[in-house]
């Protein structure tokens, strides 16, 4: 009895005292987070809903009724969707190779991490040079294509974005695939499934999370990308982020710029919600 009450008191003390000290430890980060993130972003988005001192949706109405903005939003979605499909397929493929078929997983992951951590501007500079006239890529492709100059096109943007987003997809997928119990796949093979059947019916459904999380991450990164479209797309292929950037120069347009930022966030979230629902029904129904 005395022992139990002692343990109870101890637990009580650890909950009450522990929580209070936990809160104290969290305080500096909470303050920094509030002052540097919540307040500025809140202020910015509130600007989107205010015009001449009154709360209004006028900024959003202007975006939706201007063909230029609609085209930019549609282009952003198109480029991001294409990037996501290419990155998901090739990223999954490479992650599968790294986890199940390579002999030096750690080294290969390190290489992927290096490409992710090098300045994005430098990587984009590499692509700008590669896509310019007279470049090494043009020399290599000259026997097959006779005018290889894709700089300032949507194709160039997509290539830059795939290179930027691939490492993220690979890391997410490697994380998920590494947790799959390999004995399940062996059991399926023992029961007569071919390697491909085992993959389709077992590994793929079990790694559904990689497809959802990785795909969403890649899509969100592409939707908000700025450097790739700015340097590889040129003035004619602007995406939402570039448009926001160019509006900021004129403080009279800050309301529209803020509204575009909000639209970007909402559009991305909306499309991702549909994507997650579709993938879950398509692949999830086949779950073992």
């Amino acid at each position: 009895m005395s022992l139990r009450s002692y343990a109870g008191a101890d637990r009580l003390r650890s909950i009450v005292g522990g929580d209070r000290s936990s809160l104290v430890l969290l305080l500096p980060l909470v303050v920094a987070f509030t002052v540097l993130f919540v307040v500025p972003v809140g202020q910015l988005f509130s600007r989107a809903f205010v015009l001449d001192g009154t709360i209004t949706l006028a900024n959003f109405r202007e975006i939706l009724s201007t063909e230029l903005y609609i085209n930019i939003i549609l282009r952003t979605i198109r480029i991001s969707a294409l990037t996501t499909v290419i990155t998901m397929v090739s990223g999954y493929l490479l992650a599968y190779y790294i986890v199940f078929r390579s002999s030096n997983k750690r080294l290969l992951l390190l290489l992927v991490f290096v490409t992710m951590m090098v300045d994005l501007v430098i990587r984009i500079f590499g692509w700008v040079v590669a896509f310019s006239r007279g470049s090494i890529l043009e020399i290599i492709t000259s026997p097959f294509v006779d005018n290889f100059s894709i700089l300032f096109s949507e194709t160039a943007i997509v290539i830059g974005l795939v290179q930027f987003t691939l490492p993220f997809m690979i890391f997410v997928t490697v994380g998920v695939l590494s947790n799959i119990d390999n004995t399940l796949v062996e059991a399926a093979r023992d029961l007569g499934a071919t390697r491909f059947q085992a993959f389709l019916r077992l590994t793929l459904p079990l790694s559904l999370n990689a497809v959802i999380v990785g795909g969403s991450l890649v899509f969100a990164l592409s939707m908000s990308s700025f450097v790739s479209p700015q340097l590889l797309g040129g003035g004619r292929n602007r995406m939402i982020a570039n448009t926001i950037f160019s509006l900021i120069g004129n403080s009279g347009e800050w309301g529209i710029a803020a509204a575009l930022g909000f639209t970007l966030l909402v559009t991305t979230a909306g499309i991702l919600a549909v994507f997650v629902a579709v993938v879950t029904t398509l692949l999830g129904s086949d779950r073992p």
Partner: protein, 263 residues
């Protein structure tokens, strides 16, 4: 036989994707030594672009500023995150799971929006274009990444060892400094490297925060190549590739890459 074909197919697919990932980096390094600049094949090897880089004081100043900013950001972000993760690993805390996710919110907001928000906010505080403003921005931007790495390590700490230290008479602070932190030292080193690189390489958000005397190296390069492409940028690029690679290799010696990335 079919096994062999399968192996060759896999190896070439993986090799092709790796080639794609490294292609822009290899090209930059190649150009930095090419006397003919962007013209291939090269007629020899030169260091002239490196010399022209060293003679460009704007590039050197920007590089040094970025190194300093990266170190400052790591020195402020890490203590904040370490303290917070000691608090956050306590699962009895009301709303602990919720709080953990809230701190990851900045990851979901586009960098252009973050930069724009800070630009307006800082202009009302008189911090536009200041070094302090850039550090503040980088602290906010790097916190979610560092939190993922360090909180994961903190949750893996065996609390019975800390209880033992308490029983032997150590105070809370002593236990933290002499027992808990040494146990997660690899995560702290890796987290510091991660924060440094994220700050050192950030361009989109930083573009909104720089002023005339406070241009960071990625922003300097961005502005440089927006107007003209010049092989000097390739020399800078080769140096930056070396910096990032060295930091990553150093991080990997203490911590596995998969754990750093937090996925």
């Amino acid at each position: 036989m079919s096994g062999l074909i399968e192996r060759v197919l896999w190896k070439s697919a993986a090799g092709g994707i790796f080639l794609f990932l490294f292609f822009p980096l290899l090209l930059v390094v190649l150009i930095s030594f090419n006397p003919d600049g962007f013209v291939f094949p090269p007629s020899g090897v030169t260091l002239e672009w490196y010399v022209s880089m060293l003679n460009d004081s704007a590039l050197i100043d920007a590089f040094l500023l970025s190194v300093g900013l990266g170190i400052c950001t790591a020195l402020i972000t890490l203590p904040l995150v370490i303290l917070a993760s000691v608090g956050l690993r306590n699962e009895g805390l009301p709303g602990q799971q919720y709080l953990e996710n809230v701190f990851l919110f900045p990851l979901m907001v586009p960098e252009v929006v973050l930069g724009f928000a800070l630009l307006i906010y800082f202009s009302s505080l008189g911090l536009t274009g200041s070094t302090i403003g850039i550090v503040f921005g980088h602290i906010m931007f790097t916190t979610p990444f560092a939190l993922q790495t360090i909180l994961a390590a903190m949750k893996g700490v065996d609390t019975s060892i800390e209880d033992a230290a308490h029983d032997l008479g150590a105070g809370s602070l002593q236990t933290l400094v002499y027992v808990t932190l040494p146990m997660i030292k690899p995560a702290i080193i890796a987290g510091a490297g991660y924060v440094f690189i994220l700050s050192f390489t950030n361009v989109t958000m930083t573009l909104f925060l720089v002023g005339s005397g406070t241009v960071t190296i990625p922003v300097e390069i961005y502005q440089y190549i927006s107007f003209s492409i010049d092989p000097t940028v390739a020399a800078v690029g080769a140096v930056l590739i070396l910096v990032s690679t060295s930091v990553v290799i150093y991080m990997d010696r203490v911590f596995s890459v998969q754990e750093i990335s937090g996925f």
